[in-house]
């Protein structure tokens, strides 16, 4: 590889007269903004994990272990709010979408760079406000992350500040969505046609539409809670003629599609990684791309499957249950396509692939248990039990979480220009995988036996399951520590890499590592299809 020292990377060339920290906080460079998103959301991830560990520790034995019941309520609420709204929803799109999408399209930046910066600042504002709600007012919110009425209208804890924080975070997410859709429509380099776009970009496109069309409904819903608390209008208050179930409708009209905001980008990451390490064209490019859009659309029609026991009409239960099965189809199509891509490929088990395989397994477990919940009959039995808790952790942590880890192992060498220790990364994966299943698998069992979610205390018969689960949480935490330390060491002191350490064929592997300010030090070759590896060799 020829030496490209002449061109400065985006670390050395900020594109403005600002220096030091200011050149980051007020940058409009999508790579810097993406990295800043990642730093903040990883920090919040650590906070969320600590809260999760505290919940698990409290539940290791019946009765009080380390905290009071009220504290417990606040802790699981915060765990949910932080993990959902601050970590998982922005995770892959805001961090890796920003870093990678424009480069994959052969663009210099996103369509609206200043809006992108505003979006990051709104994200920070929302995060700070969410933390602020803990230490002000009369106690931290204790409603659970769903803010269900009527309790959220009348609890004396600091729900008002928390819902405004969620509103602001939602606005940030909307702006990111607007930016990505416009970027994909307008800034694709000549030659990058719709069908030559990497599948990661396709998944961000579908995600963007959900962000734009569903998030505003959450916005108005949380605003209404605020209005109810301040003015007492009574739109959800049965004493004033309101209907609390309508709150649940509005909440899930957003929050179910939000699940797809979380999972679609992770599916995109996996679709980009698997062909590279199987050295084989992706199986069914078009079906994967279209199934993303199908998931986005069908995912907007199933929200009320969260409400089968709420007292809504039987007709609605029937229809929403049926539609829930429909949305499983495009997800399954993707899993089949990934498997078919691996079939007869020449597979090298590098860390990014390993994490992607972890994603496929854990997501499949989460998805299939989702069908048990989506089916109206069985849902009555397991609704609001630990079965649900385990199901959505398999989908969100096992899916999006592992998708995020895969992306961190796949793309961060490009962003830092250095490689981590691959052996340690594989060990970390093994520990994580064992810890994860040990943590969540027993919860399926005690859920089926009837252990309700969110309870502070429980009957002695559930203790074995809880104990194994808590033990698993420590192994999982150990795995996270190994993984993060390894990545940190790799990206600060690891060996330098060339342009294309994995032998990828999408545009980001044609530029130098780390990329220059305007992404390309030489005109990228856009003639190649995204997963055509003929003649592409890794450049270590």
């Amino acid at each position: 590889m020829e030496n490209t020292n002449a061109v400065k990377s985006f670390y050395e060339d900020s594109g403005s007269s600002r220096t030091g920290i200011m050149s980051w906080l007020f940058t409009t460079d999508h790579k810097r903004i993406g990295l800043m998103y990642m730093y903040v959301l990883l920090a919040m991830f650590v906070v969320g994990v600590c809260l999760g560990l505290a919940i698990r520790l409290e539940l290791i034995a019946p009765g009080k272990t380390i905290m009071e019941a009220q504290t417990y309520n606040a802790v699981f609420t915060l765990h949910g709010v932080i993990m959902i709204f601050i970590v998982v929803i922005p995770s892959i799109p805001a961090a890796f979408g920003n870093m990678i999408l424009p480069i994959q399209l052969g663009a210099e930046d996103v369509s609206f760079p200043r809006l992108n910066l505003l979006s990051w600042w709104l994200y920070i504002t929302g995060t700070v406000m969410a933390l602020f709600s803990l230490f002000t007012g009369q106690g931290a919110p204790d409603t659970g992350w769903t803010f269900y009425v009527p309790f959220s209208e009348f609890t004396t804890t600091n729900v008002s500040v928390a819902v405004i924080a969620v509103f602001i975070l939602g606005f940030s997410s909307i702006l990111t969505g607007i930016n990505f859709i416009t970027t994909i429509h307008r800034l694709r380099a000549p030659g990058i046609t719709w069908t030559k776009m990497p599948l990661f970009a396709w998944s961000l496109y579908a995600t963007g539409w959900i962000q734009v069309l569903a998030t505003p409904v959450l916005g108005i819903t949380v605003l209404l809670i605020f209005v109810e608390r301040v003015l007492g209008v009574g739109l959800f208050d049965p004493n004033k003629g309101g209907d609390p179930i309508l709150y649940q409708h509005l909440f899930w009209i957003y929050s179910h599609p939000a699940v797809y905001i979380m999972i679609l980008p992770a599916m995109g990451v996996v679709s980009d990684i698997i062909p590279v390490f199987a050295r084989k064209n992706i199986f069914g490019y078009k079906t994967i791309a279209v199934s993303s859009l199908m998931i986005a659309f069908a995912g907007s029609l199933v929200w009320a499957h969260h409400m089968f026991t709420s007292g809504m009409s039987d007709t609605a239960v029937l229809i929403f249950s049926l539609l829930t099965f429909v949305v499983a189809i495009p997800s399954a199509i993707k899993v089949f396509n990934w498997t078919a891509t691996l079939y007869k490929g020449s597979i090298t088990l590098e860390p990014p692939l390993l994490y992607s395989l972890g994603f496929i397994f854990l997501f499949s477990v989460g998805g299939l248990t989702g069908l048990i919940l989506g089916s109206a009959g069985t849902d009555i039995h397991v609704h609001d039990t630990y079965f649900v808790v385990s199901h959505f952790h398999y989908v969100i942590f096992g899916g999006t979480g592992f998708g995020l880890f895969a992306a961190m192992h796949y793309w961060l060498p490009k962003m830092y220009g250095r490689m981590y220790n691959k052996k340690v990364a594989k060990i970390a994966f093994a520990v994580l995988f064992v810890g994860f299943n040990l943590l969540y698998m027993p919860l399926f069992v005690i859920g089926l036996q009837g252990m309700p979610r969110r309870y502070y205390d429980y009957l002695p018969q559930y203790q074995t399951g809880h104990m194994i689960s808590t033990f698993g949480s420590w192994i999982l935490a150990l795995g996270l520590i190994i993984m993060f330390v390894n990545l940190y060491k790799g990206y600060t002191k690891g060996p330098k890499i060339g342009r294309n350490p994995w032998g990828g064929s999408t545009l980001e592997w044609q530029t130098m590592s780390p990329p220059p300010l305007l992404n390309f030090d030489r005109e990228p070759d856009t003639s190649r299809r995204p997963y055509d590896f003929k003649g592409v060799t890794p450049d270590e």
């Binding site: 607007i178 505003p216 309508l246 509005l250």
Partner: protein, 199 residues
């Protein structure tokens, strides 16, 4: 022409996407309105009778006129007639103020009759009417906030036109501001019959 690197279609696409978020923000409230109208048709009828149709109609006319003025402003800036463009944008702002003054007269009359959120008088009314007025205050209130934002945006547009930042060759900002203003009008087109004329 070719020297301008701005992506007009991109800017407009971004604006339309933002308008969609506004439509769905109000959309959540329309979900509530439609279900409660279904539940309490009679109370919504009695509630609607208590609103002033004259003020409602007047405000509809005011907003339609303002939309017309914005459209004219954009036509004039495209033709390079800056003075006229500024004049019509200013007229839009005046219309916005007219709307808000009407609205505040209407609201204070309601307050005067003891009808405001959580008021004792309201709590004595039938459930459906409480919901009707609850929706009325929330929806027209949120719409009013949008009118205020729109007026401020139009003010900025006047300033930018004076600075010649918006001109014959580069007017997408005014177009996008216009789109926002039309959306505010659009929402009122639905709010008006749903509250003032409900039967």
């Amino acid at each position: 022409m070719s020297e301008i690197h701005k992506d007009y279609t991109g800017a407009k696409l971004g604006m339309w996407l933002f308008l969609f978020t506004e439509v769905l923000l109000f959309g959540g409230l329309f979900v509530l309105y439609s279900t409660y109208l279904y539940k309490y048709p009679q109370d919504f009828h009695t509630g609607g009778k208590q609103l002033d149709v004259f003020i409602g109609t007047l405000n509809t006319v005011v907003l339609l006129l303002s939309s017309f003025f914005v459209a004219l402003g954009i036509t004039y800036i495209q033709r390079g007639e800056k003075k006229l463009a500024i004049r019509y944008t200013l007229l839009t702002i005046i219309m916005a103020f007219g709307f808000l003054i009407n609205k505040s007269i209407e609201w204070s009359a309601k307050f005067h009759h003891g009808i405001y959120p959580n008021s004792e008088h309201l709590l004595e009314m039938p459930h459906g009417e409480q919901i009707f007025f609850g929706l009325y205050f929330v929806m027209t209130g949120l719409h009013g906030i949008h009118v205020i934002i729109g007026a401020v945006v139009m003010g900025v547009m006047v300033w930018l036109m004076k600075k010649d930042n918006i001109n014959k060759d580069d007017f997408v900002k005014l177009e996008n501001a216009g789109l926002y203003w039309h959306l505010v009008d659009l929402i009122w087109i639905f709010l008006f019959p749903l509250f003032y004329l409900v039967l």
